[in-house]
């Protein structure tokens, strides 16, 4: 057996251009099976593009992407994708369970979902702590609940890797904690890749981060203020991070205390 299956997501010399704009430049990265980490970087730095390339929604201009040793399109069955909940029409008449069942679409032929699929969907809702809202309309759920329904939908596909796109962007802080607890449990059983620019999240998932700003570098945690400055190219984030650390009792970044 080759070493390939040990790698969940492998990128070699991946370059992507939109027209003449270089978005990703010669990206090399390897994420091992069972490893979880965050993908961070400034807006417009190419995070979403990278995620879409891994998912196979976008073909890179050049370079190769392997997911569990296969092409992204061939590995779709093993990938669970969680988009931002804000993208959806809040008036769409659909229940939480109906959304989660979409995770089983690939097992569906004609007519309705099988009993087995319904059981798996209910299990997935239970895993994210939403078993009691299964029949509620999507419109009646809170932002945090909607985001968790979308995670349950991804889990219903029984994926080996879970890819999340800015899942904490539209939920409030109290919900975020609950949400991170769910992710901490999940990363024990699968690879979790989480795109975010929320610095509070990165320390919770994995022990390194993938920084995307046209090029991709892996940094181990915790990030130094210089690294953060390099990534976000602004003082705002550094101050935010210092305050967060300060609140947690870590004063290494504070100057006068």
């Amino acid at each position: 057996m080759s070493l390939e299956p040990q790698v969940a997501v492998g990128l070699s010399n991946v370059t992507h251009k939109f027209g003449s704009t270089l978005v990703l430049d010669d990206v090399n990265a390897s994420i091992k099976v069972g490893e979880s980490l965050c993908i961070i970087g400034p807006n417009g730095g190419g995070k979403s593009t990278l995620l879409r390339i891994i998912l196979g929604l976008l073909d890179p201009t050049s370079g190769e992407v392997r997911v569990f040793g296969k092409s992204p399109k061939a590995a779709r069955k093993d990938m669970g994708y969680v988009p931002q909940s804000i993208r959806f029409d809040p008036l769409f008449p659909i229940s939480a369970l109906e959304i989660v069942l979409m995770g089983r679409l690939d097992r569906l032929r004609l007519g309705g979902y099988s009993r087995d699929c319904r059981a798996k969907a209910r299990d997935a809702l239970e895993m994210v702590g939403l078993a009691d809202v299964a029949s509620k309309p999507f419109a009646d759920l809170s932002g945090g609940q909607r985001q968790r329904v979308l995670i349950a939908r991804a889990l219903a596909s029984q994926p080996k890797v879970l890819l999340l796109d800015e899942p904490t962007a539209n939920i409030d802080l109290s919900v975020e904690e609950q949400f991170l607890e769910t992710l901490k449990v999940l990363q024990k059983s699968m690879t979790v890749l989480l795109v975010t620019h929320d610095l509070d999240v990165i320390s919770e998932i994995g022990d390194s981060v993938l920084c995307v700003n046209r090029r991709v570098h892996r940094h181990s945690l915790p990030l130094s203020p210089t690294t953060i400055a390099e990534i976000f190219s602004g003082g705002h984030r550094i101050e935010h991070d210092r305050r967060t650390r300060h609140a947690q009792g870590d004063h290494s970044a504070c100057r006068h205390e």
Binding site: P83, L91, M102, G112, Y113
Partner: protein, 289 residues
């Protein structure tokens, strides 16, 4: 005089006419049968917010009608009826608009607007060159349900059955494509194919409406019953059921009223549907949630 004042007597007049006038019976049957298809199709249109696509297809239908009349008269092709032309062009324009929606990076509304106008313009030019006696354009633009023949009833039954049957068989996939096209694709489902299938069903639904309301008013009966239903239904299937029920009420009562009061049927049905939609705002939505 008295008969017109007392609605009951007027209604019995309508039922009497149903026994004796076959055209009225065909019209009623066609109205009832087609209600199933546009209740179902309209619900997809409302939740997926593609009313403008429905309107564009409806207007393109005139190109099909004009083309069919022109070709059948010029080259003597008796089987090429206006409805055959309407169905062909409706499906072709649905596929074209679907392709544009899926692939145009920007300004798809401009392209769809162009298709809309060209379809209609082509129809008018075809009719201009059509030999023989003038064509009653008004009956296609505003509908004339009393032109329904026995074979039209059969065609309506078959097309309605196809639309409702396909919608039931592929229901979960069609819902998924409407809710989240990208995720559906990631699950290995041919989401573009299902979106096009949905537009083809829409095209068939619109053609069934042409005789009832005409191409201009077709959009009203696609959208209004489903929009009214969406204020009360929490799932797509319940919205469909309510929309079908409302469509049945509007078409049958519209036909009866128009016969009794001697009003044009299509516009009256549309006004009834609009009144129903207006009334729905007086009923609090929360009562059903």
């Amino acid at each position: 005089m008295l008969r017109e004042i007392i609605p009951l007597a007027a209604m019995s007049e309508f039922f009497e006419a149903l026994q004796t006038v076959p055209l009225l019976r065909y019209a009623l049957l066609a109205g009832i049968l087609s209600s199933f298809s546009f209740g179902v199709v309209g619900s997809f249109v409302v939740v997926r917010r593609i009313g403008y696509i429905a309107a564009a297809i409806a207007h393109c239908v005139l190109g099909g009608i004009g083309g069919a009349i022109f070709l059948s008269r010029t080259f003597d092709i008796p089987w090429l009826t206006p409805m055959t032309g309407a169905l062909t062009v409706a499906i072709l324009s649905a596929l074209l608009i679907g392709y544009v929606t899926l692939h145009a990076k920007e300004r798809e509304d401009t392209i769809i607007g162009a298709i809309w106008a060209v379809g209609m313009a082509a129809g008018l030019i075809f009719l201009h060159y059509t030999p023989g006696q003038g064509v009653n354009l008004e009956s296609y633009i505003f509908g004339n349900i009393l032109l329904t023949s026995k074979s039209d009833v059969w065609a309506t039954a078959i097309l309605s059955l196809v639309v409702v049957g396909v919608a039931i068989l592929f229901y979960p996939k069609l819902v998924a494509v409407c809710f989240d096209e990208e995720f559906t694709r990631l699950r290995g489902v041919n989401s573009a194919g299902y979106f096009l299938l949905l537009l083809v069903l829409l095209a068939v639904g619109i053609v069934l409406l042409v005789r009832l309301t005409g191409i201009i008013l077709a959009i009203a009966l696609i959208v209004l019953p489903a929009a009214t239903a969406s204020r009360f239904g929490q799932r797509l299937w319940s919205i469909m059921a309510i929309a079908v029920f409302l469509s049945l009420v509007y078409t049958t009562s519209g036909l009866a009223t128009s016969y009794i009061a001697e009003l044009p049927t299509g516009p009256l049905i549309v006004i009834l549907a609009a009144i129903g939609y207006g009334i729905s705002f007086l009923i609090p939505m929360n009562r059903f949630r």
